[in-house]
Amino acid sequence: MAESHKTRTLLVFRHPPYSSSLSRSGLDTALAAGAFEQPVTLLFLSDGILQLLPQQDSTSLGKRNHGKVLASLPLYDIETLWVDAAALSDCGYAINDLPEAARLADQALIRDMLAQHDHILAF
């Protein structure tokens, strides 16, 4: 068991992209975990879902495009992006507007995810 068990880490994104370095740090953590083949789960709560909106163009801000980085995550074996369903509908978007890897999570599922991971990192 000890040999085969990999630590499961949950990355929780709660902030919009661009206005602070928090969300960028979270993305870098996801990429690093992927590069070292550490299993991570990505959960986007409340304002965090704004990182997944399509058509982001951050060139005039001189910052890396979060939407594009998130779309590249399947290359790092991160196949699913869990999205706070209530927050998504509050801002008038539907799951079809988000990247293909996005899946809806309701409150019960979010609670389970928080309970079932070995570590939680919040960004």
Binding site: L50, P54, S60, L61, C91, G92, Y93
Partner: protein, 97 residues
């Protein structure tokens, strides 16, 4: 007659306070995280419009957010130069952040 600048997300207490206090004589400029308050489908954009205030959003931040096609009617895009021009017209400004 007051200029309100809002760069806090739609969920924040600052945004709620701003919506509560806007009058029809005021102007509000959404920038940074504040641009999400202009989304067509969100409750905040309705509150902003109900106030009767003029509503502007800073284009570079709207582009970064990817919400240019999803802004509510009545939210006008401005660039940095227009931000300055509008600011210069108002004797007072309240910054919500």
């Amino acid at each position: 007659m007051l200029l309100h600048t809002l760069n806090s997300s739609a969920q924040s207490a600052a945004t709620r306070n701003c919506c509560d206090l806007l009058t029809a004589q005021d102007t509000v400029i959404l920038f940074g995280d504040g641009v999400y308050a202009g989304l067509e489908g969100c409750a905040t954009s309705q509150l902003l419009r109900d106030s009767g205030a003029a509503i502007f959003a800073l284009a570079p931040d709207v582009d970064a957010a990817g919400i240019g096609t999803k802004l509510a009617t009545g939210v006008s895009l401005i660039d940095y130069a227009q931000f300055v021009t509008i600011s210069a017209k108002y004797p007072g400004q309240m910054a919500w952040y």
